[in-house]
Symmetry: C2
Subunit: 336 residues, 2 copies
Amino acid sequence: MEDYRLKNRDLEVEDFIEGILNGNRVMLAKAITLVESNNSKHFLKAQKIIEILLSQKKESIRIGITGIPGVGKSTFIDTFGCFLCNMGYRVAVLAIDPSSQVSKGSIMGDKTRMERLAKHPNSFIRPSPSGGNLGGVNRKTRETIILCEAAGYDVILVETMGVGQAEYVVREMVDFFLLLVITGAGDDLQRIKRGIMELPDLIVVHKADGENLEKAIMTMHEYNQMLRYITPYTLGWTPQAVNASSINEAGIDEIWTIINKFERYTKESNIFDKRRDEQKWNWLHDLIKQELSDRFYQHPQVKQQLEIYEENIIKGKKSVSASALELINLFLFDAK
Amino acid sequence: MEDYRLKNRDLEVEDFIEGILNGNRVMLAKAITLVESNNSKHFLKAQKIIEILLSQKKESIRIGITGIPGVGKSTFIDTFGCFLCNMGYRVAVLAIDPSSQVSKGSIMGDKTRMERLAKHPNSFIRPSPSGGNLGGVNRKTRETIILCEAAGYDVILVETMGVGQAEYVVREMVDFFLLLVITGAGDDLQRIKRGIMELPDLIVVHKADGENLEKAIMTMHEYNQMLRYITPYTLGWTPQAVNASSINEAGIDEIWTIINKFERYTKESNIFDKRRDEQKWNWLHDLIKQELSDRFYQHPQVKQQLEIYEENIIKGKKSVSASALELINLFLFDAK
C-alpha cells in the first residue's frame, strides 16, 4: 500500500493524475472505482481525470482473451502474464471475478485464481463481477484501459467469458483477440458458439500437455482446417491455431512472437491506428444508443405501459409499429 | 385490374380491408404503398388497417431467400414460385428491384426478372428498391407480409441480397431461411460472408446442371462438411446442402419436401409459434431502438455538434463518455 492516508481524505483530480502518472497502484484502483461509480458527482470527476490522461500518448497493446468456462483462462493468464512480467513488461489484467457471480457460489477470488501473477511487482489485476450478460466486461472497461495505460502498463489483457455478446464487445476494444479452446469429445468443434470463430486473430488449444498432447495436436489441425473457411477479422492477417500448455509453459513464447508479428504488421499497414480510431468512433455511437435505450426503458411511464403493449401485440390487438411510436412519444414528451 | 375506379377516389380503411380480404391485388398493392409511405396521415390509416387485419388468423409459411448477386435468385424464385403456384398455393414474393438501384443502371424490372411467375394468377410480386444497406428489405417488410397473408397468400417469399445486415433482418421475420450458392473457383467457400453460414435452414447449390453438375455435387459435399461445424439456427434441425437447377427444375420438389418437413417439425415442437411471438417482440424493441436513434441523429443540434465532438474524441481532447452524455442532453432537452 503506497499511501494509506489516501483513503482518509477526499481526493482531487490532481491527486489522481499525479498518482496514476507515477504508477501508484492504489490511486489507479481508486480511479477505476470512481470511473465505475454511478454517482453523477463521481462521473464528472472521472471524466475530468480521463480527459487529462487522454493527452498522454502511451504505447500499449490491448489483448482480448476469451474461452468458455473450463478452458483454463485464469491459469493461462497467470502463466502468460508472468512470462511477460519477467521480460520486463508491465501487465494489467482486467479479469472476471467468479466469486462475485452469486449463482455459481465460487469461493476463489482473483488473488488465488492468478496466484503467481498477483504477486508480481509488474502486474496489476482488476477483477470485474462476472454476472450480467457481458461476461465480466462492463461499460467502463474502455475507460479502465485508458487509466491502466496512463499508469504505464504496456500490455493490457482483457479477459471475458464466452457469454452473450461479450466477445463482440471485447473485440471492439482490443488490438488483438485470442480464443482459448481445449480438446473434448470427438465432435467438440460442433459446440463452438455461433459466430465466435470469426473474431480471433489467434486460437490457442490449451492444456496441450501429458496424455492430452496428442489429442490437442489433432484439435489444432481441425481448427486450422476450419479457419480456411473463415473470413479473417483483421484484413490481411490469417489467424492460425497453435498449442500451448500453462503447466509446462510450452508454446507461451510462440504466442508472444505471433502477437509481436501481428503488432508489426498492423502498425506498418496502418490498421492498428485506424482500428483504434474506429473503435473510439464506434464506442461513441454504441454509448449513445445504449444510453438512449436505457433512459427509455427506465422511464416510469414506459415501464408501466410496456407490458400491456407487449401483450396486445402478441394477442394481435395492436400493431408493432403503432406500439413503438406511442411508447416513444410517451418517453420523449416527458424525458427530463 | 380488378377495379380501375379505385384509383380515383380517396380510399377508406373499410375499402382496404374488404379489398384485401377478397384477395384484390390492386387493393393489396395500394395498401402496401400506404404502409410504406412516410406521410403521417398515411401511417395512421395503415396502422388501422393492419390492426384490423391482425385479428385474421391465416396459416402461411414465410421463407427468406438470400444469396450474393450472380447465384440466380430471380431465376430460382421464378421456377420455385411457379412450382408452388401450379400446386395450387398462392405465392407472394417480396422482391428486390434491381432497376431502382441507380448506380447499377440495370434495366430489368421484376416483370422480366420473374417472367413466368409474374403472369401466374396465383402469384403476387412486390418489388422493393435494392438501394440502401438493407439489400431490398425495408422497415415495412414485416407489415407487408401481414398484408399479403390477410390477402390469402400462403407462401411468402422474401428475397434479399447478401448486403450489410440484410440477412439478419430477414432471418428475424421468416420461418425458414434458404441460402442460395453456386460453385466457383476451387477455394470459393472462402468468399462466404462472415456469419452467413449460421443463418440458413437449408443451403441450395444452384445452377447444378449441364457441365456444372459435377462441380455442384462437389460443392454440395463441401458445404455439408462445413455445416457439421456450425451450430444450427433452429434448435434440433440440422441444415443440409442440396443441389438444384432452375433450368431443368431438378431438386425443386425436394426443396419443398424439406420445407414441409421443417414446418411439421417446428410446429410439433412449438418452435414455429414461439419463434413468431419472439419475432414480434424483437420487432417492437428493434423498432424502438431504431426510432430513438433516428430521432437523435436527425435532431438539428445533434447534427450540428456531432462532427465537432467526433474530432475532439479522435484528437484525445474529449472523453467518449462525456461526449455521449452531452449530445444526449442536447437531444432530450429539445426533443419535440
